[in-house]
């Protein structure tokens, strides 16, 4: 707790720098990442982050200095070239996009490693520290770097803000954007440049490999919470900023812990949580919804079966043995035991010894489902001219979802019928 207060009071200017820098970085890469995510080119970030290495080395070899702005220019250029190469390979050959991606990534990185080791072995004293580009050094951000970061991050954010509508269009529907006369090529170039810029700066904080996560993970997590791009950008930025602060805090409270990997760890935990539990799209929520629908189907099908057996015997409230239910309609043993237990608990059927008896509520519900089933069958034969022996399955599905309003309209349309195409009586409304 004490560390927490100490951390957030920003007593040490260094903490302020680190926190400020990582937040800016996280937000700008999260925002850019949303667009690459929508274009289904998330891994471009990974490629660029590996491909900047040769650029950094060449610009160091050419200038002999580690001026962050010069290195960033070199990185920017080689990041751009990697994207061009990747596009050329996919466009001109039969090689698929993922292979082209992997190829561009690893070959550029290989060249970078070759150059970097060449520089390291060349005995140039000023080269030390060049390899922070590989693994990042978020915890050691200093004045000059921070200035470079902030400027670039702000540029990235401003450009995205200015071109928001255009970027949105070319990401979702490039064909349409073209038709309405947007300069697609120029916009694509701007968007790619912004992406490369975000990657180039981010690398210095979290390193080559984890940079991909800074782009992809916030966007992927945010996607599970909303369907609107504007909200997605905000949510992704919040996730990014939060991970930036937590990463900085963790490495502050436990000095041996690296900032970059922890930022990614926090982001990943947020993302995993979103994948599973986000309302509407989460895996757990979806499975639960499916489970509930399946249970509803089972219950309604059972009640319908009860009703039909009762109908054929002209006695809806007689005791029916479990076996007889299975004879009337196929249920697995598990379905039968589980479904009947549930119906019993909800008061739709009562257990009498080894047999079951419909209750008043159960009877009404079974009656309604049967009614809907037969109404729909009649509708299909009458209005869609489907043969009577082909309508059962369709009706079996839709009977569970017809609303009372739809029921009334069907009734009206069919002129309050009393018999379905198979001459069974359509039970009256309760």
């Amino acid at each position: 707790m004490e560390t927490l207060i100490e951390f957030f009071s920003f007593e040490y200017p260094n903490i302020k720098y680190v926190v400020f820098g990582t937040i800016l970085l996280s937000i700008s890469s999260a925002v850019v990442g949303c667009f690459t995510f929508i274009k289904k080119k998330s891994l471009v970030g990974d490629v660029v982050s590996h491909a900047v290495l040769p650029g950094i080395c060449i610009s160091f070899l050419a200038s002999g200095s580690k001026d962050p702005f010069l290195l960033i220019i070199g990185a920017f250029v080689s990041g751009w070239i990697s994207i061009v190469v990747m596009d050329a390979i996919t466009r001109n050959t039969k090689i698929k996009e993922d292979a082209a991606t992997g190829l561009a990534l690893s070959v550029f990185f290989g060249i970078g490693i070759l150059l970097m080791t060449y520089i390291q072995h060349s005995g140039n004293a000023s080269q030390s520290g060049l390899d922070t580009f590989l693994f990042g050094k978020a915890a050691a951000l200093i004045g000059v770097d921070l200035l470079a970061f902030s400027i670039i991050a702000v540029i990235v954010l401003v450009v995205v803000f200015l071109f928001y509508k255009e970027f949105k269009l070319i990401s979702f529907d490039p064909q349409f954007a073209k038709v309405i006369g947007l300069p697609i090529r120029r916009l694509e170039i701007i968007l790619t440049s912004v992406t490369v810029l975000a990657v180039v700066t981010g690398i210095q904080a979290v390193g080559v490999v984890l940079m991909a996560a800074m782009l992809i993970t916030p966007a992927a997590a945010a996607r599970f919470w909303t369907n609107r791009l504007s909200k997605m950008l905000i949510i992704a930025s919040v996730f990014g900023a939060f991970s930036g602060i937590s990463g900085a805090f963790i490495s502050y409270s436990t000095p041996s812990m690296p900032t970059g990997p922890w930022m990614v760890m926090v982001l990943s935990i947020i993302a995993l949580f979103s994948f599973f539990f986000a309302p509407g799209k989460g895996i757990v929520i979806n499975q639960w919804r499916r489970f509930k629908i399946q249970r509803q189907l089972l219950e309604e099908n059972l009640l319908k079966t009860f009703f039909k057996i009762g109908e054929s015997n002209n006695d809806y409230f007689r005791e029916i043995e479990t076996n007889d239910i299975g004879l009337a309609r196929t249920f697995s043993t598990g379905q039968l035991t589980k479904g009947l237990r549930k119906l019993n608990a909800n008061g739709y059927v009562e257990k009498v010894g080894n047999a079951w008896r419909l209750s008043k509520e159960g009877h009404d519900k079974g009656k309604r489902i049967t009614r809907l089933h037969r109404l729909w069958e009649l509708y299909l034969t009458k209005y869609l001219r489907i043969a009577p022996d082909h309508v059962h399955e369709d009706a079996d599905t839709i009977e569970h979802v017809i609303t009372p309003e739809l029921e009334s309209r069907l009734e009206q349309l069919l002129n309050y019928p009393t018999a379905d195409p198979h001459d069974s009586t359509i039970p009256s409304r309760n």
Binding site: L43, G110, I216
Partner: protein, 249 residues
């Protein structure tokens, strides 16, 4: 890209294997890494199918997460581990002859990496030789394979298991990322030139051999990383094949 993803995500497997066994025995590390490799493919598929997450994002999230976990574990146990992220990322093939393997009597029988990689090579060649038909059919037409009773997902996981095996066996020498280049570049170059899978296998092996030899020579010339130079050469070979096919059109 799955190869790239696996090559990164095996890191925690290696670290955990190391922590459990307490030694850098290759066999254990390969088992740990192999398990993580399969887990990675499984997670990618799981998020993609159950979570409806698009594949590229699914790959990206999964491998960066596992890699971050690996780096955190490495840093946490850095005090007593002889592994660090440098060696995992860009390996050093020049140390291979130093790390010798000994038989029971204590006589050196050869460099460890060479022995391990030879075993892996034999395993892979045997696997491809014996199951060529199954691999062929599940790769080219998984639906047909499923229809005639060959489970394409089983072969998919087996193949991915082999990919992680190769990756782990090689990463000590060339590093995780450059393994990917050696996995993709020669194969893609061969793919551009030939239509026949058998020829493609042969050609890509040939390109692999050429890149190793020329790469070694280039690194000697520049005094740089051997793995980096090998990858550079394989990139050049791909570039030549690319130009040839594009100009032919």
């Amino acid at each position: 890209m799955i190869g790239d993803a696996i090559s990164h995500s095996v890191l925690p497997g290696i670290v955990i294997a190391f922590l459990l066994v307490g030694s850098l025995e290759s066999a254990w590390m390969i088992i740990g890494a192999g398990l993580l490799g399969v887990l990675t493919t499984f997670l990618i598929e799981f998020f993609h199918q159950k979570g409806k997450l698009q594949t590229d994002a699914s790959i990206g999230v999964t491998f960066t997460w596992l890699f971050a976990l690996g780096v955190i574990l490495v840093t946490y146990y850095a005090g007593n581990a002889h592994i660090d992220q440098d060696c995992i990322l860009h390996g050093e093939i020049a140390y291979v002859p130093i790390d010798l393997m000994y038989d029971d009597a204590g006589n050196a029988i050869g460099p460890k990496a060479v022995i391990v990689l030879s075993v892996v090579l034999v395993v892979i060649l045997l696997f491809i030789g014996i199951f060529y038909k199954e691999l062929f059919i599940t790769t080219f037409d998984p639906d047909f394979a499923n229809a005639i009773g060959i489970s394409s997902s089983k072969w998919h996981y087996l193949l991915m298991g082999l990919v992680s095996l190769t990756t782990v066996a090689s990463f000590e020498s060339v590093g995780a990322i450059l393994v990917v280049a050696l996995l993709i570049a020669p194969a893609s170059a061969a793919y551009l030139i030939t239509q026949d899978l058998k020829w493609m296998l042969l050609l890509s092996s040939f390109f692999g051999i050429v890149s190793s030899i020329l790469g070694y020579w280039l690194s000697y010339l520049l005094d740089g990383s051997i793995a980096g130079a090998m990858v550079t050469i394989s990139g050049v070979i791909f570039g030549i094949c690319y130009l040839v096919t594009v100009l032919k059109k």
